[in-house]
Assembly symmetry: C2
Homo-oligomer: 473 residues x 2
């Protein structure tokens, strides 16, 4: 295991830019995947293959790997130069508008999706981008090495890579939920089969939880006619193993960055604003699957039912902008803003505060302060907010958690689980959380913190590498 591990993901650990003086600069990549994988690679050597996004990235792509020390992980970063139109069609058009939607059940089937030329071109671009990644990994990986491919953007890489480099041990980790076969079958046969076949090129397919794993197996069975036996699938004369590797957070790292001055300043600002009001918090990307709208409706219902809480509780929704170029997302955010305005019209000028900005220190500060954290996604592969919040909270805060978040598997015993579409139940859960006696709150919070810290990204990757080692071809 001393050969460097090859990681491939759409978004890389850094992007390169030029500052106003024309000097090259690095910016840390965003998103849970980068945090998790870079945490996991601490103290190791890795080759990380990622898409070139900026112009400077493309320049870097032409000039070979760049060495980056990222929080203790020594990474050789290689950028894959995907032509901008192909990249947009593949990532925005196919990965994010088709695969993300299908696996999170985000369509309105009487009306959407409607597949046509645009989507067919997006599928072509997706295949092209996956080919480019497979070639880049094939070129970078040491003899008999190990490649861990990340997520739905690169689902075809395992099969393509295996043809180029049969000597590699190949893992694919699927970070998001997996749709059940009737819903997945809304995709064309070519796409659904292509997706599953592509994945089956791996030696190990990793999922966040048993639930998504079983849905994947139901798909291979219903769509490909391949029946699993003890989570082993036989495809193309090879065996593929499906396993779960729940992803976690790095609490030490979180604590470190939460101690930075920017977080302290943000915290002081929030405390002053809060006064003695209770804080019902949500932290999310502006994302259709996060169920922000029903969160606001549940809060509205709470204030409707319990007038004594008006003015004494505030709902802070910290939303990082995401996918603003996609019309479905713009419409959704407009609806959220309107819903928040309605609550404030009804129950006071600051019953809800909805902030759409990318202010990570403020999110960390808010984590320390919440009384109730609402994490109610319609569907979510894992959800790291549900782990980060409890790691940092100092107020015995209660977690109201969707039973459709992967995190619910482990955090259920210490949270208030809700059916995310049940606004009434969500409102009651927030109400119960606010009423919970101090002692019970503290005890739950302690238990929750222990559970939330339990899975480090290092262990997450270690387990995959160990299993891949055993299944080396």
């Amino acid at each position: 295991m001393d050969r460097p591990i090859v990681v491939a993901s759409n978004r890389g650990p850094v992007t390169f830019e030029r500052d106003p003086l024309g000097n090259p600069t690095q910016r840390r990549g965003v998103g849970g995947l980068v945090t998790a994988v870079s945490g996991a690679l601490r103290g190791r050597e890795g080759i990380w293959i990622a898409s070139a996004v900026t112009d400077e990235d493309r320049r870097v792509a032409g000039s070979g790997p760049v060495d980056v020390d990222l929080a203790g992980a020594m990474l050789h970063v290689r950028m894959v130069d995907v032509p901008p139109d192909t990249f947009r069609a593949s990532v925005d058009g196919f990965s994010n508008r088709v695969l993300w939607f299908v696996h999170h059940y985000l369509w309105d089937p009487p009306r959407t999706p409607t597949f046509g030329d645009q989507e067919n071109e997006a599928w072509d671009a997706y295949q092209d981008m996956n080919r480019r990644f497979a070639e880049a990994v094939a070129e970078a990986a040491p003899d008999g090495g190990t490649a861990v491919i990340q997520d739905y953007h690169l689902a075809l890489v395992p099969q393509l890579l295996r043809k180029l480099r049969p000597d590699l041990a190949i893992g694919l980790f699927w970070h998001i939920p997996f749709a059940q076969p009737d819903y997945l079958s809304l995709l064309s046969d070519e796409w659904a089969r292509g997706l599953l076949d592509g994945m089956l090129g791996a030696d190990i397919l990793g999922f966040q939880t048993d639930r998504w794993l079983r849905s994947f197996l139901a798909c291979t069975r219903q769509i490909l006619g391949i029946k699993p036996r003890d989570r082993i699938l036989v495809a193309g004369g090879r065996t593929v193993r499906a396993s779960t590797y729940p992803i976690g957070v790095n609490p030490e790292h979180l604590t470190e960055i939460a101690a930075e001055p920017a977080v302290k300043v943000a915290r002081a600002g929030l405390e002053e604003w809060l006064g003695d009001r209770k804080l019902v918090l949500r932290v999310d990307r502006t994302e259709l699957s996060k169920n922000i709208l029903r969160g606001l409706r549940a809060y509205e219902l709470l204030l409707e039912r319990r007038p004594e809480l008006r003015g004494r509780v505030v709902h802070l929704a910290l939303l990082q902008p995401s996918r603003r170029s996609v019309p479905e997302y713009r419409d959704y955010i407009d609806e959220c803003v309107a819903a928040a305005a309605r609550v404030n019209d009804r129950f006071g000028p600051e019953a809800v505060r909805l902030e759409i900005s990318d202010d990570f220190p403020r999110s960390l500060a808010a984590y320390t302060l919440y009384d109730v954290l609402v994490v109610n996604p319609v569907f979510d592969g894992m959800n790291l907010v549900a782990r980060e919040g409890p790691c940092l909270n100092r107020r015995g805060g209660v977690l109201v958690l969707s039973r459709n978040a992967g995190a619910s598997v482990e955090l259920a015993p210490a949270s208030l689980l809700v059916n995310p579409v049940d606004v009434d139940q969500t409102a009651r859960a927030i109400s119960d959380a606010l009423d919970m006696p101090e002692e019970e709150r503290q005890e739950r919070a302690r238990k929750l913190r222990r559970l939330a810290r339990g899975r480090s990204p290092g262990k997450w990757l270690d387990a995959q590498l160990r299993d891949l080692e055993q299944r080396r071809p």
Copy 2:
């Protein structure tokens, strides 16, 4: 088997009214279920339990069973008097807005459903109505008799009835699709478990196709933790068997009614209107799951791509009004009307003709005349239009059929199958159907007619009764 069979369904074979002179009159019930079950009971004696809908029905409900001869079936009809508010909440509020939606994947999960007080009350009403039906069946059924309960309106009846009448053999036939467990879990636990437990009171659970049956088994497994063995489930110390009984049409009966003068008149009118234009037909209820919108878009795409067809083809959409009191349906129909108007704006005043009316003779006449029949539901338990049309068509018409209609299992070899959300593919299928050489059309149509006629309602019920006899407690 000489004891009368008890059938229970929400809609009965007749409703009672008063004519303007105050004399009681009977009107035949509508819908595929009534057609199928009354066809199946031809030449038998049956007791049919159904909801009282009209004021006259309620009067009848108070005065015991009414004997009705319905196309050769001798039926004793008993009306169950469900209070109007309960009936509305149960049927419109729960059965049609919750159960119908979940099993046809009709929600838009970022926004709908949002469960609250109204839905909780609807669930209470649903339980109440199911109790009343269970009591009515318990009262009417002969000793050691057989009860066949129909569809999702009455899913709780088997369990409730078993408690009252353990001597009965109880079947439940599920006419619609069955959702897979992640989607079904959008219901509250109480509802989802209640639904499955209620169904498991039956000796035999019948489904249209293997696909819906397997989805049901996946639900009992994921939601109740009950693992099937060879389609036998053990629940509450009893065994329940799941089987498929695909429903069909009665071609002789269809031919009879198609020969009636009203149909001939309608046919002459249609022929005159058509002239030498080709007819692309759809016949449906105004129903979200029928995919009328995408059908119109596919037709629009066809005319866009093939200018030579403009004015030489017409798309007739015959839509029977349905569920007009449900806002989702009103919105959807408005969208369909707007989509049809857009096609006509672009491609001529009568490229599409969309008729919303309840004109059965006109539908039968149109069946005889179509060149292409479009049956493209997003999901559909069986779909009888796909069988009725080919039974009556005389023009070698081609069937474009959704792969998500239960009918596709048997009709696939003689139809053009499409993924219903793939507008591009649907447009190409209609195009191919119009271009098909005469000989191939005629050969396909012959094969299709044979397949479409293959399942009579009589055989459908016979198979269930035979299986129930074997499993008599």
